[in-house]
Symmetry: none
Subunit: 408 residues, 2 copies
């Protein structure tokens, strides 16, 4: 983890002022899309979204570039940008996000990595990087089996299950360093890579990781599919500046997936573990509002259907996201923000670099050049313009009366 954009963040921290306004920060994962042919609508434009359209027309719209031009963001950097960080300056490794995502209480200096259970042949070559996609009923007890491996040297080794074939490991002790390369070879028919330093300071931690992988192999030797582990996303944990401290809000996240709970915890949000249903989202948001005034609510399925390449199914999920939004609005918010952490066009079947539609609805919104609802093309002439992802949050805080004047 690294925080190198403190100048910018310090500016906003110095301007933060209290308010009792309530903010809904609604992230529809992979929201941005593409047309299927010139002249045709995108997923968002094809979907019937009466609530999004109303907020767009009453509020201000625009397009955000989460990381940099041409760069498709991972979910981590995409969300860090939405939380006001420069995702090229402030980074959080996947291991740390995974551990935080399952609710593990990381301590400063802990080193965390993501585990994939994998299948190895008799020669030690990877034959399946996801162990035949074993379910959680197999993965969870295997993760438990690896928990507490004795690595010596006063270092604790904690393993937690994430989901299906995914787990995470945390090394806890003095002098650890997470600058270690992935062991996942990203290919089959070859052995896993040995852990390797990215910085010499990580030499001792590489030895620990090597021992861990050996012991794990011994403990998994009886397994048919999951007889090995691949490690990636090593990172040392150091708390990021907290959202509450930076902006003076009382933030909470309502999310159904570990990744998004993890990135929310990384910035000090309280996390409410929702089911992936409208009812659960609304119920937990209602509960969270009792103690919190900045509600990050995450909607996942749009991204998944985009990655599937299923245009119609993504359209349908956008409509479900719109219905959820309508229900959330009944809870009463002063300012509403809606965007995605990146685009996932169904025609592209992956996270893409395209700017993401965004809207801010609140008491002090500039009019868009046209009132065409919420869509990629309409947002081109929106009042927010085309902006960096990290600049969206300050606009929302200002709209909510939570940023003061700079200079006399």
């Amino acid at each position: 983890m690294k925080v190198a954009d403190m100048d910018r963040l310090s500016l906003y921290r110095s301007l933060a002022r209290p308010s009792d306004s309530r903010i809904l920060y609604y992230v529809i994962d992979g929201l941005g899309g593409l047309r299927q042919a010139p002249g045709a609508p995108t997923e968002l434009e094809a979907a019937a979204t009466p609530t999004l359209d109303r907020l767009a027309d009453e509020g201000s719209t625009g397009l955000i570039t989460p990381v940099a031009p041409g760069v498709a963001p991972g979910s981590g950097p995409g969300h860090l940008a939405l939380f006001g960080f420069d995702p090229l300056e402030t980074t959080v490794g996947r291991g740390v996000l995974a551990a935080l995502g399952v609710g593990f209480e990381l301590q400063t200096g802990d080193v965390a990595a993501r585990i994939n259970f994998c299948s190895l042949d008799g020669d030690g070559n990877v034959i399946d990087r996801r162990a035949g996609r074993i379910g959680s009923e197999i993965g969870a007890p295997l993760a438990q089996r690896l928990d507490g491996i004795d690595l010596g040297g006063g270092v604790e080794c904690i393993v937690r299950h994430v989901k299906e074939y995914r787990a995470c490991v945390v090394f806890r002790g003095a002098g650890l360093d997470g600058r270690i390369a992935d062991t996942d070879p990203q290919a089959t028919g070859v052995p896993p890579l040995a852990p390797r330093v990215l910085d010499d300071a990580a030499a001792a931690t590489v030895d620990l990781a090597t021992t861990f992988i050996e012991r794990a192999g011994e403990l998994l030797a009886d397994q048919d599919k999951a007889n090995g582990v691949l490690l990636r996303g090593f990172d040392s944990y150091h708390p990021l500046p907290s959202f509450a401290d930076l902006y003076g809000v009382r933030p909470a996240a309502v999310a159904a997936y570990p990744m998004y709970r993890g990135v929310a915890r990384a910035v000090g949000m309280a996390v409410f573990d929702a089911e992936d249903t409208l009812e659960s989202r609304v119920e937990l948001t209602r509960a969270a509002l009792e103690e919190h005034d900045f509600l990050f609510v995450h909607f996942k399925a749009t991204d998944s259907r985009g990655e599937d390449g299923d245009f119609d199914a993504k359209v349908q999920q956008v409509e479900i996201a719109d219905e959820s939004l309508a229900a959330l609005l009944e809870l009463g918010f002063d300012v509403v923000m809606v965007t995605g952490d990146h685009s996932t066009p169904a025609t592209y079947k992956a996270h893409s670099w395209h700017p993401v539609p965004a809207l801010i609805w609140g008491p002090h919104c500039r009019a868009n050049a046209a009132n065409d609802g919420f869509g990629e093309t309409a947002c081109l002439s929106g009042a927010l313009g085309s902006i960096r992802g990290m600049d969206l949050l300050p606009l929302v805080l200002a709209q909510a009366g939570r940023l003061g004047k700079f200079g006399a």
Copy 2:
């Protein structure tokens, strides 16, 4: 030469991934223009450009600012921006561009300067800064006469002809430094300026340049017009990060003028010396495609007619550029980019600061807000928005499937 935007470039280098897509990077020099009166069209809008219009309507358009708001770019910085460099951070002197432009193989540490042959009167005052615009038939043998002047101290002195009254000189030896001011006084009736250090480290090289100018004067004493030399654009040569290394493409340039060949060589492109005709451009591009997949094709005459202040002639050249583009497209490209390195409005008769129309055509393009073809006003509502020149290349690489995801 200076490279100071490595953080940004390292990001893109780290994301570069292989692809067999073919990219046409078509630069219409001085493309941007201005209307002759309110309500009238610009040169680009007045021209009949069916191919540009089709690519704009099927693709995404926008406007680029090559260097900075209000700054008219020279050809060097304009092209460096299009090649993805920050032209305020990465600079290449005119002397180096001239030497590379004529195909001279510079070595690290060489100091190069542009030469203009000039006319001096009996008192040593400049009476013509371009020696009566002598032709190449006079300039070339005079350049040869200056080649190999003995400067002592183990320093080689290499002179090459560029075109007409233009040549370049390269000093090669240990401990040279190119931080030296121009000797061209930019005026007549006054003597040339003496070479002068811009940094004390260049003191020895200033002595060499002073000696070179004296010897050159002796060797040119028999000349009627070209009896002196003016030097400018001193610079030390250090290779820039190569295009192939940064982005994983196999780049080639097809250009008819030394300047553009020089800037292409500066970033490690293979260079195909075209004639300034449609047939030559197409034929060399076809040949280049056998070994290369990123084709930088340069079209010059639009800039020249803009500098002439001839609106109608520039319109005509835009139409010829459009015809060339149609012919180039028949060679088969997956992604096409068209823009200029700067604007050269005929009403302004010079490079100007105005943003330059740009289009990207490829398989994953967002729709523009309106389909009005390719022109300054239409590009205002294009899907690319108003962006920095250096951000165009990453968008093209992404469109061509050549940039991976950032972060997990």
